[in-house]
Symmetry: C2
Subunit: 402 residues, 2 copies
């Protein structure tokens, strides 16, 4: 990975995962450095189903920094992109990259090409995967060593958690400069191999309040938010880590649901109030509680971020039965042949009369567009096969990616 | 009103109003006595549009206590009805009714006939009006003097606020026996004659969690609830009383909206979560905030109780414009000739281009079923015209009332 003085073109391609928080990040104590008001904890999902892929290249031929996202050129002038580029280049100069020649490296312009393997519009955590992938790729390109999740954090807060696989804690930190607010792995994906996720894509509508603006307003106006930060989240984080280490699913699931509901509660307590969950989201919540009642134990958990989509966590053994119930209560509308369930295969079980007897909920056809079945996955990966690169030799996006 | 020994039949008919809280009652510190965790404050609405009407009679001929609600006979054995009957009779014996002969009075069986002038199913505060009317009527029947709102409280908590007109405070109280948890009038309806209300009836579906059970679960499981009780509501109550006394509508409206949102926030923070607002409720919330933005000041407030219906508060001068906007964004569906707006007349203003330019919301036809236009009203009233009685001479409901 050494960077030579005479190198005129260099390209690195990496992938990074999506993460879905079970202890929620909502609220910054420092907007510029993106420092959170409380710790958060997330599960990193499998990259076969959900990942960002980014190629970064520098070349003496490039006349300016340029970036293409999902086939469309975007400005690199956004504050967050600049934060990330500046911080990576600062570390190259500070630490010195292998082989030296730092000024040459960091003075060269770069091209960035990135794309997701899932619809950005689906309202899944695309910015976390995107910034994690950008930072990881740049650090590989420049040979930056050491902790990098704090760089990803400066692009998008939750991106710092996508730097690791498995179960990941983002520490609040105490320092004003944010150097102690980074992510660390609580347990690798191999720790709890039975864990699965069913992501129910409810809507691809744009949310009416962005999460950056939303959490800002919550911190400023919600009387309940400060109590959540001071009196609730830290204890829940400790309990959650304990549940994960003990593979205690009912406790993991209950805290996950309580956290999701409290996030949306403080959003509702915001002035003006912020709503992300829809009637369909609420039907999913009621179905999950009804399923747990029928099964006599907490077997499924839901969590919602700044949008109406549900992420369900459950164990492998319960996927067939739960998927059958999901399909029964949310009969798929015709999607011109596209499958209702994508990702890992499911041996779906037909619903039983006794299950249905215990669940008094309406069926709502088409309310869930499709379901992504995935599991817990690893952190960012370097893609070694050059044919997988998104950038061609002259530094523009390969056609396939546009 | 004196009760004579030789009296064999006596009948009293009264009406009582609905009240809609602007500082919300949610949570009991004593389930049996119905003592609240926090103070609440409500606005008593006009009885021409919303009222309960109750006739109570005793007779030496009656062989048992009987009750008819909205034309249907109901058991009087429910705990809450019994609480009220026992407490009223206890006070008659304790204080002695004018003319004495108490044992005769209270040993006689009574018949109760009650009906509302609005659909109970509409999810408006019918139990508050109903219990207030029952208690007020019984006290008139037996000649019970003094504070009676604490009797109504033991039938249905919020009923104690319907014992008074105008703006009414229900004090939390400190005593274990609840004798200091009663309602008192903050200001009469004449204090702020411009105040109006538009009740948007969204749905007549039964709510999925009753408020009695719901507030119980919230107190037991919501981590935010205790902070609301300890750290938020009392200050808001003081601020609200100040705003009412000063006729400061923007402050009155903002606290009203924050209170409504916080009530539903603690419901969402409950485990399992409780939802009362629907997508239509949320559209109304967004429309109200959008209208206030367009008008450049807070001119309308919404509040939601344990159901999806919105109660809007606004001043008389703004009703025509707001009603026009409500009709534009919620075009009425055909209701076989029934009017979209009932109650007080409205000189509805057509919407202007400039208003619409500032409001980016979808139109949803039929989402609001109808609107009740009313104002602030007085407390319970005695109906003197005998033809208005709901009980006929032999003690059964008059036919018209069934």
């Amino acid at each position: 990975m050494s960077v030579k003085m005479d190198e005129t073109f260099r390209c690195v391609t990496c992938t990074a995962p999506v993460n879905i928080a079970v202890i929620k990040y909502w609220g910054k104590r420092n907007e510029k450095l993106i420092l959170p008001t409380n710790p958060s904890l997330s599960v990193t999902l499998g990259q076969d189903e959900l990942r960002a892929k980014t190629s970064v290249a520098f070349s003496s031929k490039y006349t300016e920094d340029r970036m293409w996202l999902n086939g469309k050129e975007e400005s690199v002038s956004s504050q967050r992109i600049q934060n990330v580029l500046k911080e990576v280049r600062r570390r190259v100069r500070k630490r010195g990259a292998p082989g030296g020649g730092n000024e040459v490296d960091t003075s060269r312009h770069i091209h960035i090409v990135s794309e997701n393997n899932f619809p950005t519009a689906a309202g899944l955590a695309s910015s976390a995967a995107g910034y994690a992938c950008l930072v990881y790729s740049l650090c590989k390109l420049y040979g930056v060593q050491g902790e990098i999740s704090d760089i990803a954090r400066q692009g998008s807060g939750s991106a710092c958690r996508s730097i690791y696989g498995g179960y990941v804690l983002w520490k609040t930190g105490d320092l004003m400069d944010g150097t102690d607010s980074f992510a660390e792995q609580v347990a690798p994906e191999s720790h709890w191999p039975e864990m699965r996720s069913l992501i129910c894509v409810v809507s691809d509508q744009k949310k009416h309040v962005g999460s950056t603006e939303g959490m800002q307003t919550t911190v400023l106006t919600s009387e309940l938010m400060q109590h959540r930060v001071d009196g609730v989240v830290s204890q829940r984080t400790d309990d959650m880590i304990e549940a994960i280490m003990a593979r205690d699913f009912p406790t993991f699931a209950k805290i996950t649901m309580q956290e999701s509901n409290q996030l949306h509660a403080v959003c509702l307590d915001t002035y003006p109030p912020i709503f992300y969950m829809t009637d369909t989201s609420r039907l999913i919540v009621r179905l999950v509680h009804a399923i747990n009642d029928v099964l006599g134990d907490i077997k499924v958990a839901y969590t919602f971020d700044a949008g109406p989509n549900a992420c369900l966590y459950l164990l492998k053994e319960d996927v067939p039965r739960v998927m059958g119930l999901l399909r029964h209560f949310f009969p798929p509308a015709q999607r011109n042949g596209e499958p209702f369930v994508t990702g890992l295969p499911v041996d779906e079980l037909p619903v039983t009369e006794s299950d249905l007897a215990g669940i008094s909920l309406p069926q709502s056809e088409g309310a869930i567009k499709y379901v992504i079945h995935t599991k817990v996955g690893p952190g960012p990966q370097v893609v070694t096969d050059p044919s997988e690169s998104l950038i061609d030799a002259d530094g523009s996006p390969k056609q396939k990616s546009s």
